[in-house]
Point group: C2
Chain length 652, copies 2
């Protein structure tokens, strides 16, 4: 049997974070710190030292940060993510004989043992750590060695070892000896900080006209930009802007056949007017669109584009690339179905085609084409109906050239599929937040997103509604339901969005018994009174302002729930990147009744400097100010007034 690992004594294991055994990269954001944990141990009682090793892709030198022993042979280290891009990290550890000697020396000294031989050993270690060090250091060490070796200076030498400067010398000097290096180099993807903090507003450009009965245009959209900017949104997301299929076009309320003049669904893409790289003529020209993108940018707004990789039956691809679709024995092209349901207006792309390489190239070219027109955010429609390996390649390939492009996955599907798309590279994902209403549901779900494995690859984007989803909660409880769900979305998650005007103006008429909008904008042009604002518009403006001004609201992973003995009230503290920015959110989840209870302050606030509690709270919603001096503090929220507190804390 081949001998390996000779005279190596340290075992390293369970390095975390890792995503699926390092099959996918761990994701973090530029400017964050990565905490690395590992199980580290050796035989016997000798002292171990461990470091996290890390390097950016393309660099040759590994940087190191020390790890510290926490408990039960588990160690912790960290490093700052000062650059964007791909990193690798691993862990190195070794039995440090110099440290072992030093710790033993102190114990033997306390036991009044004779240390003459220990001093001779110490001299050898001092010599060893001097190797390769600058002359000044070696000179200092040589002085010590001389004292250690001089029997007449025994007392002086023992005292020297026991004094503080020697302890620092030990701390700062590793004696690396037969180190173990964990064989897996874990991949880490550090993304642009913008991916961590966005506020989305969605509307249909075709409904942007100032007057009813007209088809909206990009020029109309331009006029709405100041309104969107004033509310504090920084992403404006449009459903697909491509030509809409004319064959099997859907009518109002998803009617199988459109009546004459009905505009169809923007997600049925492609006609004789063009495909995924074309613009629906009624919206305007490519020039109009580029102009809009530019004007939006000037107001701090990115236009997010919707890419739905599916084709109307009259999409140019069908004729140009019939091999990218499935054909039935009767000579027809296979439309989408989920038996017994049929979707004749949509042809799925056959990703099992033998011509997949050309297909992938063409699909990528759609994204790069629009990037060329100034787009850097894509909302991808139904990615879970296309193979995950395709997305993994596509996103990597696009980001190789355009690393900061954001992909939002619209995968309202099963948990593992939703998670798989995030692993494959999607920057953001829509979530189950849309249906999590009770306190227990919210706490469980937020903890799953922020404390479990998802934390390392899934970046949630919270939407209380979408053109596809009008949740029951919004249907049944009037204005307060909209306020509550908005505040939750905007404070629980640093990335959130609204299907805008419909949400803002409390539209909530469902298809009876379903979580769908009646007279959905998906199948018809709507008119919104864009001059109107209301209580919610004001709250949105105020909350978006608070988000911009408080780093505590700019991360999703900095949250802790506070105890409160009322199941209708949820309370959470968010801590900013500088630790002193503290936001306490308290929300009455009951839209109909006043609820009250005592909120417990988190332990870290209580122990502050060991002094009495003295915390000033100013409610960013109402401007009211409070002072708390107790662990438990009374809260009362009347939804008729305002169903939430958004407290900024000052801890004295």
């Amino acid at each position: 049997m081949k001998k390996t690992g000779g005279n190596i004594r340290v075992i390293i294991d369970h390095i975390s974070p890792q995503v699926d055994q390092n099959r996918y990269p761990v994701k973090r954001l530029h400017g964050e710190e990565l905490q690395v944990k590992a199980h580290i141990y050796a035989d016997g009682h000798d002292e171990i030292r461990a470091v996290v090793m890390y390097q950016k892709a393309g660099q040759k030198i590994w940087q190191e940060q020390p790890m510290v022993y926490e408990i039960n042979d588990e160690w912790l280290g960290s490093f700052e993510l000062k650059e964007k891009g791909i990193y690798k990290f691993t862990v190195k550890a070794w039995v440090d004989h110099f440290l072992t000697w030093y710790e033993g020396f102190k114990k033997k000294a306390a036991d009044n043992q004779n240390l003459a031989t220990e001093l001779l050993e110490g001299a050898e270690y001092l010599k060893a750590i001097g190797k390769g060090k600058p002359k000044s250091v070696r000179d200092h060490l040589n002085k010590l060695i001389k004292i250690f070796k001089d029997p007449s200076k025994y007392e002086e030498a023992v005292d020297l070892v026991l004094e503080k400067p020697f302890s620092e010398l030990v701390s700062n000097n590793y004696l690396v000896n037969h180190p173990t290096i964990y064989p897996v180099e874990v991949t880490l993807k550090v993304e642009d900080a913008r991916a961590g903090f966005t506020s989305w507003y969605e509307f249909f450009p075709r409904s942007a006209a100032a007057k009813p009965g007209k088809h909206g245009t990009f020029k109309d959209c331009e006029k709405l930009l100041p309104r969107v900017a004033a509310m504090g949104f920084d992403v404006l997301y449009f459903p697909p802007i491509h030509p809409i299929g004319k064959l099997h076009r859907k009518g109002r309320n998803n009617a199988v056949k459109a009546k004459k003049g009905e505009p169809g669904s923007p997600w049925a893409i492609g006609s004789d007017e063009g495909g995924h790289k074309s613009i629906h003529p009624e919206l305007g020209t490519l020039g109009d669109f580029k102009n809009l993108v530019k004007k939006a940018k000037a107001l701090g707004i990115d236009i997010a584009m919707d890419i739905a990789l599916q084709c109307a039956p009259d999409h140019p691809y069908v004729k140009a690339h019939p091999q990218w679709f499935k054909w039935r024995p009767d000579g027809t092209v296979k439309y989408a179905e989920n038996p017994p349901k049929k979707y004749q207006d949509i042809l799925p792309i056959d990703f099992e085609t033998e011509d997949w390489q050309a297909l992938w190239d063409e699909l990528e070219s759609i994204f790069t084409y629009w990037i060329g027109q100034g787009i850097s955010i894509f909302r991808v429609d139904n990615p879970h109906t296309k193979p995950t390996p395709f997305w993994e390649w596509l996103i990597a390939s696009v980001q190789e050239k355009h690393p900061d492009v954001i992909f939002l996955s619209e995968a309202f599907t099963r948990p593992k599929v939703m998670a798989g798309l995030a692993k494959a590279g999607f920057t953001h994902g829509y979530t189950y937040f849309t249906w999590r209403n009770s306190k227990a549901e919210l706490v469980t779900y937020i903890n799953e997103l922020t404390q479990g494995p998802l934390r390392d690859y899934f970046r949630p984007n919270f939407w209380p509604n979408t053109p596809d989803i009008l949740p029951y909660f919004l249907q049944d409880h009037g204005e307060n339901a909209f306020l509550i769900r908005y505040v939750l979305a905007a404070t629980l998650s640093s990335n959130y969005g609204l299907y805008g005007p419909v949400y803002e103006f409390y539209e909530n008429k469902p298809v009876p018994g379903k979580e769908e909008y009646l007279d959905s904008e998906k199948y018809e042009i709507k008119h919104h009174d864009w001059n109107k604002t209301n209580r919610l518009s004001d709250i949105i403006t105020l909350v978006n302002k608070a988000r911009k001004e408080n780093s505590a609201l700019q991360s999703t992973w900095n949250l802790q729930f506070c105890d409160i003995h009322n199941d209708h009230i949820i309370a959470y503290l968010k801590t900013g990147s500088d630790r002193s920015n503290l936001i306490l959110v308290v929300v009455n989840l009951d839209p109909n009744h006043t609820q009250s209870g005592y909120v417990q302050l988190p332990a870290e606030l209580l122990k502050k400097k060991g002094k009495d509690i003295f915390i000033e709270l100013s409610d960013l919603g109402t401007g009211s100010k409070y002072t708390w001096t107790q662990e438990w503090n009374y809260i009362e929220l009347d939804p008729a007034q305002l169903p939430f507190h958004l407290f900024k804390l000052k801890v004295y």
Copy 2:
């Protein structure tokens, strides 16, 4: 960016079991079944099929077993371990278009849709699954194809698809298409079934003399074999039998200096009389030892040998291989220490020596030497003070030639170190059972051993005492403490052992305040009255008999705890390999008082055939019989009678 994974749609992940990301093999026993789980999903709504692929090392063909969907995209498969040795397994899955077509067909038929095109598609799939099949199968398929393609036989064809034989045809015919094969081949080590079921008895051969004051010999040991066999033990384990160091020899009760004539500790190995391949002269000759091993084997007993890889200062290695030890600047060899404690009678081997390859070879030769003398079980002393990579190599190297050799790790140390040795290859490990006394402690610990990650690599061996450990519980509670701890060890774990005569005869005088034996046999020769038996000897005999006759007591991983509302009573059901062998163990953990309560039968027994409950119980301890017809059943255990029930169940 390089394109990979083209037209592959299924994602496979989270294959379990795996030990540390397949760094170490999963362990199982010959004759068991391995259950394999995986997360498997694809894009869209198509049907997936999945199989476990497995092969024995050296084979070229992968065998397959189907997996079934359980819940939440988690799949389960299994295969029987018909051979000993190293296996590899992984998972293959694919979108099965034939199955997808079939499931869709049924739904469309139920929806009264026209199925003419579906039949034409079906004909194509039938042709595809016929490829490579025998002519008779193809003939049958061709008949079906003909009907499917004949519009005049539309009704007949639809009926054919909807009938049972066609459902079986679908079940039995895979249409493998762009399959995903999980890239990791997980290593599985299938060990000899004996490793799963052993009963150990330990005594010091030097205390085996029939008369007091004499040094016991192997010939004396021979005379005790029938006694050990009659009690039902199948492993007889001896502390080291090598020459004992004379330099710095320890005296009675661990005195730093032995008085003249004191025998010393058998773990201080080596003197001018020889080292690890020699026999302590007073025990007899190598011939005597081999004779003993042979006679034991004839009685169904294996002699387990203790290997302690450390040296007395006068061990021959010190002179022959000084480079295997650490030398101090004062010219002395470094003895063992754990500052401020010193162990001058023991020299640790320096595994960091540059001569490690020769060292490893020599240490391996100790094991192979004794294997040559008929030994197949080693109890390894303090393996956690030698590097884990050494053990990984040593055990693999020995087992390459002698696969069934058992290594028991005596690592009473921190959890991760104990676990690491099991991963590295130790067949058995001593455990924390020795200190787990309360019901909560026992339930938590047993569940950790049998339900958590340890299940896949750590095979516990339960010892209520050892020459090093006299637990407080045994010190304080008289005979019943010994009975209780014995029954727990012998029924909770299929591998267990006793430091025999001392346990059997209730010796429990401690070094005051410590969990150590006063006047320990480690430092002196003892005399036991081997003719004596007592209540415990009888119980041991009876329990070992029950263990041999009931497969339910021959595994550690077949246990479920039963609810009982009394914290002093623990109850667990063990299920045999044939599922009908059921043993219910109920133990009163309170050695001093009668305890009673209602035990709940596990759900699987209640649901038996949907009939009324009717269970006959016969107590293998007392011979008493009971009938239970309720879910909750009254138990009363008076420790003055017997502190446990060992029920064999017959379920009607």
